[in-house]
């Protein structure tokens, strides 16, 4: 018997979050305000995601947490333990076994099914915030569908760098209406935002919840002559040889030798278990050795 109510939060808090989730699903991409609670972890460690997970979790769930794709980082391990202790749910590191997956800044490589729920931890939910600091103004801009400023920002990227330089938290348009921040996932993950699973986004400090129902139309903003491109490091994984997964870059010695490996540890591990092997580490960059 746990000393906590099931999944830590009290029932009235869960109801408040649950009502926000339903309105979020009914208005895809719109940020629903909610009364975020103080959680036993600091802001920035996934308090929004944890509150969503607590509100959707049932006793039969199998819970998985990833932090930038990895199951074994501090943040992922502590959130997984938190729900083991407060909800008594089973946990897993295998993507296909999990029914609720909480994620920080990645979408798993393996396609998710209709029986799964993906919960995102979101730092800044407002895609217009860095362009317009006032909440009153950004709220008005969403109400009026006034997204010209975002296109100007992307255009300025092109005029300065020759391409849209935004690499993560790449803004999307949901069902042709709301511009939404997909959380700081790499833009490589953006095409996966239309999926069979329910996607919930929670920002604890900013007190916002938003959602994407399954098969929602999600379009990454771009221009006809500068179409959106889901980019990744142009290497295969050094551990499993995968050429279709998002890669982390790791410096492995003092000479600057680099290793590229899958950021999704379960995807990489599953492939290695099947006998896939990777390539040798990558030599240092030329400009770094001269």
């Amino acid at each position: 018997m746990s000393d906590y109510n099931f999944a830590y939060l009290d029932e009235q808090t869960k109801r408040m979050i649950r009502r926000a989730i339903l309105k979020g699903l009914a208005i895809p991409g719109y940020q629903v305000p909610f009364a975020s609670r103080e959680m036993p972890m600091p802001y920035g460690w996934g308090t929004g995601g944890v509150q969503l997970s607590a509100a959707v979790m049932t006793g039969d769930d199998i819970f998985k947490v990833i932090d930038q794709g990895a199951d074994d980082t501090t943040n992922a391990v502590s959130i997984r333990r938190f729900f083991e202790r407060t909800a008594g749910v089973a946990t897993t590191q295998a993507t296909r076994e999990a029914t609720v997956i909480q994620t920080r800044h990645r979408i798993p490589e393996a396609a998710l099914s209709e029986d799964q729920i993906l919960v995102y931890q979101v730092p800044i939910p407002e895609p217009l915030r860095f362009l317009e600091p006032s909440e009153v103004e950004t709220r008005k801009m969403h109400a009026l569908e006034d997204y010209g400023l975002m296109h100007v920002k992307l255009y300025e990227d092109i005029s300065a760098h020759g391409a849209i330089s935004t690499a993560y938290a790449y803004p999307v348009r949901v069902e042709g209406r709301y511009v939404m921040d997909p959380s700081p996932i790499p833009k490589f993950d953006n095409p996966k935002l239309s999926m069979a699973a329910i996607q919930l986004f929670g920002a604890g400090r900013e007190q916002r919840i938003y959602a994407l129902p399954p098969y929602t139309d999600v379009v990454s903003l771009d221009f006809e002559d500068h179409p959106f491109e889901a980019s990744k490091a142009d290497h295969p994984c050094a551990l499993c040889g995968a050429s279709d997964s998002y890669l982390d870059e790791l410096i492995v010695d003092d000479a600057g030798t680099r290793m590229f490996m899958c950021s999704d540890t379960d995807y990489c591990g599953t492939r290695r278990a099947k006998g896939h092997v990777g390539t040798a580490p990558t030599p240092p960059r030329q400009e770094e050795t001269t």
Partner: protein, 186 residues
């Protein structure tokens, strides 16, 4: 207050509400698809599904409006005892319960352009729920879905208000299906 008003709550409030909410969330995320729901046993004339939705989502923060034949003392007492939700008129309602013909659609809050979420959720009691009739398209639906909606024009008008509008949960016996404002009905 009748004895029946005191019974019929969740046996295990935390886990029963979690299971029930999961079904409601799936229903809202996949318009037209039917889910089983249970745990609460409300007095007549309310169905198990409608009673469970109220028990799962309503509390002192949400005004509930009982429409038409649902506005009976036994039900008022049951909702007050189990959820503490204030019973309010339609214009201030967060949740509305009733048969289709009784729900005062035009009186309900549909949200504001700044806060489209400040809108009512309508629980519509149905004779039956079957996957035939109106065709539904939109977020949450891969191609199309079908549901025996009580009519079509009202839901087309509601969808035209997007992002404002009402969200509907249809209940019959222990079954629910939902129709958010984002769904296009033909």
């Amino acid at each position: 207050m009748e004895q029946t008003s005191l019974s019929g709550g969740f046996a295990d409030p935390s886990l029963d509400a979690a299971d029930a909410f999961r079904a409601v969330m799936q229903a809202m995320a996949r318009p037209g698809r039917m889910y089983e729901i249970g745990g609460a046993v409300p007095p007549a004339p309310l169905s198990v599904a409608a009673g469970t939705v109220i028990m799962t989502l309503c509390d002192p923060d949400t005004g509930v409006h009982l429409a038409g034949a649902c506005d009976v003392p036994a039900l008022r007492d049951w909702i007050t005892f189990h959820t503490g939700a204030p019973l309010v008129d339609a214009a201030r309602a967060t949740f509305v319960v009733g048969a289709w013909g009784d729900v005062p659609l035009d009186a309900l809050p549909i949200g504001t352009p700044d806060y489209p979420d400040r809108s009512a959720t309508v629980i519509v009691e149905m004779e039956t729920l079957v996957s035939v009739g109106a065709t539904l398209r939109g977020p949450g639906i891969r191609d199309s879905a079908q549901l025996n909606l009580p009519e079509i024009a009202a839901f087309q008008r509601n969808a035209a208000l997007f992002p404002l509008g009402l969200d509907f949960i249809f209940t019959s016996g222990a079954q629910i299906a939902a129709l958010p404002r984002s769904t296009k009905v033909t």
